[in-house]
């Protein structure tokens, strides 16, 4: 069974203080690793897809990287509007998404 573990559970940052979130995974035949952002009371909002080790994707202050065992989401110079729960999910041979528990990021002004 596919397993996804995210750390830390919660992260409190000062505005402008860069940091990284970790997603470690075990999956049978990785088809893709997905990062989502989830705001309170909302559904997951798609951010990135990574397909193979060494791949990197960027969007504004966010950068996602992938190795064979884990993915990192780097937040550079975060702003209060980056406060959210960030979810990592993997898609293996059975096509469904298996999610981690998420990292809740709070950015203080």
């Amino acid at each position: 069974e596919d397993q996804v573990t995210q750390s830390p559970e919660a992260l409190r940052l000062q505005e402008g203080e860069s940091s990284s979130l970790n997603c470690s995974y075990t999956v049978s035949g990785l088809r893709g690793l997905f990062w989502y952002r989830q705001d309170p009371g909302k559904g997951p909002e798609f951010l990135f897809t990574l397909y193979s080790a060494g791949e990197e994707k960027e969007k504004e202050r966010l950068k996602a990287t992938l190795t064979k065992k884990e993915s990192f989401l780097h937040i550079t110079a975060p702003k209060p509007e980056d406060s959210a729960t960030y979810l990592c999910a993997v898609q293996g041979g059975d096509y469904k998404l298996s999610f981690g528990a998420g990292t809740t990021v709070t950015v203080r002004a």
Partner: protein
């Protein structure tokens, strides 16, 4: 930007009653999914659907649950004889393909069973 829409946003139902949760996927998407998230827990896969058939379902998706695409735009999840433990956020998602493409989620229906 196209989005997945779900109705109602909140449903309160007595235990033992039937509920139908509704979703309108993104118009050019062909693959549809239901997930649920119990308060404080992970998002969990329930079922995937393509070409008017269930493609895959989880252990959670037992005979109490059913899905249907009654017309060209709606995708529904029916829960028969609801239980207290069915209380959760239910998310609908859709994608262009099964594999390698992101699934786009709606904002969910909060189901509260009394």
């Amino acid at each position: 930007e196209p989005e997945v829409t779900q109705t109602p946003s909140h449903q309160v139902t007595q235990m033992g009653q039937e509920v139908i949760l509704r979703c309108v996927p993104i118009s050019n998407h062909l693959y549809f999914y239901w997930y649920r998230q119990i308060l404080g827990q992970k998002v969990e896969f329930l079922v995937s659907f393509y070409n008017n058939e269930i493609s895959e379902k989880s252990e959670i998706f037992d005979d109490q649950f059913s899905v249907e695409r009654p017309d060209g735009s709606n995708f529904t999840l029916k829960i028969r004889s609801t239980k207290l433990e069915d209380s959760a956020m239910y998310f609908c998602a859709s994608s262009v393909q099964f594999s390698n493409q992101p699934q786009h989620f709606g904002d969910g229906t909060r189901l509260s069973i009394l």
